[in-house]
Amino acid sequence: MEFSVVVPVVAALSFFFAGLALGRRSMRIQMKKSQDTTLNIELEKMVAERTAQLKQAMEDQEAFAYSISHDLRSPLRHIDGFLRLLINKMDTRDEVVKGYFEKIYMASNRMSAMIDDLLLFSRLGRKELDVKPVNLNVLVHELIEQFKIIHQYREIEWKVNLLPTIPCDANLIKTVFENLIANAIKYTSKKPIAVIEIGARDLPDNLAEVFIKDNGVGFNSLYANRLFRVFQRLHAGEDFSGTGIGLANVKQIITRHNGKVRAEGTINKGAAFYLTLHK
């Protein structure tokens, strides 16, 4: 089953709107030259039709993901329920039998977590953006303070440079940084001292690039693009927990802000994530 349908649609839609703006400009020039308004009207009509089609396709995909998420819950509830009833009836002193029960139980829990993640992913794609200027310094420092409390027994060296103020949806961008920082903490857990660096630089065309680097297990850059797909993971679940939705959420949110995200990694040296956003 193909679940990663929402991101391509969202990406396609933003690409489409960008093209629409360019198309309008070139049409105006054409109009002055030839006064040919018939073509213009035809084009506008086509654009309106395509926009409606895309919007409908997007709504269908959302409804699909939502319905799948809900309909998958019932059989899962039944597995969990009958498993518990079975355990009550059985002699579970046998360690092998106990191990099997444990595995079924863990698998059903994992699927439950994935369904919840899928629902969240689908909701993120639908949520209206509430764009306001957001000071990333404040946002990131607040997050780090929260993470410090959760991971008080870890040795983490934080290097946070000055970050820009960006027009964006504060809650969604918070989700982005939450995911990226949580990943940096998770994938440095096997290092005696974790070093996490967050910074930014200006790019031409009024863009800003924000990065998060760590010295964790890293990954092979060959697979960098796979990281952002739904439920795609580059590490075994036994080594690092998680379903593999976090970076898909990051990509979806950044794409909805007309931004870009990319990843670089070196095995056992660390990973770096770069966000390009409009200032």
Binding site: H70, R73, R77, G81
Partner: protein, 146 residues
């Protein structure tokens, strides 16, 4: 001695019926539970029609109603019940798998008495069913007994 009223439970999934009855059995309720499997059967039961034509003339203590059912769904059933004379005050609790906001709002505007989303974790599911049974069959006084 007054007769202990029965509980009417509408659910199309046999797995759900079995799990819910297993959970109810932990409540040690004195009430018997009658199970029906679609919206039409709920109405047949309540209005003594079809295979329930000869049913004993009594009203259930409460109706536990699934939403997604064949023929008539739970919300449609609730609407008919509320528009009827004899069951407009029957306590009805929705028990459903999905957290559809529109279902919650519609049910409450039609005068549902409770709306419970089936938890995935069986321990939580048993807790939810037990509290429904305990409250609506024991703690609560039903207008149907008057």
């Amino acid at each position: 001695m007054t007769k202990i009223p029965r509980i009417l439970y509408a659910e199309d999934s046999l797995n759900d019926v079995e799990l819910t009855l297993a959970a109810f059995s932990e409540c040690n309720l004195a009430n018997e539970i009658d199970v029906v499997h679609d919206g039409e059967e709920v109405l047949d039961y309540l209005f003594f029609r079809g295979r329930f034509a000869d049913r004993e003339k009594s009203a259930p203590a409460f109706l536990l109603l699934d939403i997604k059912m064949p023929k008539l769904d739970g919300v449609e059933v609730l609407k008919i019940i509320r528009e009827s004379g004899e069951y407009k005050s029957l306590p009805v609790v929705m028990l459903t798998a999905s957290k559809m906001e529109s279902d919650i709002l519609k049910s409450y505007s039609l005068g549902v008495n409770g709306f419970v989303i089936k938890p995935i974790d069986f321990t939580d599911f048993v807790k939810a069913i037990k509290s429904i049974g305990f409250f609506w069959a024991i703690v609560n006084t039903s207008p149907m007994s008057l």
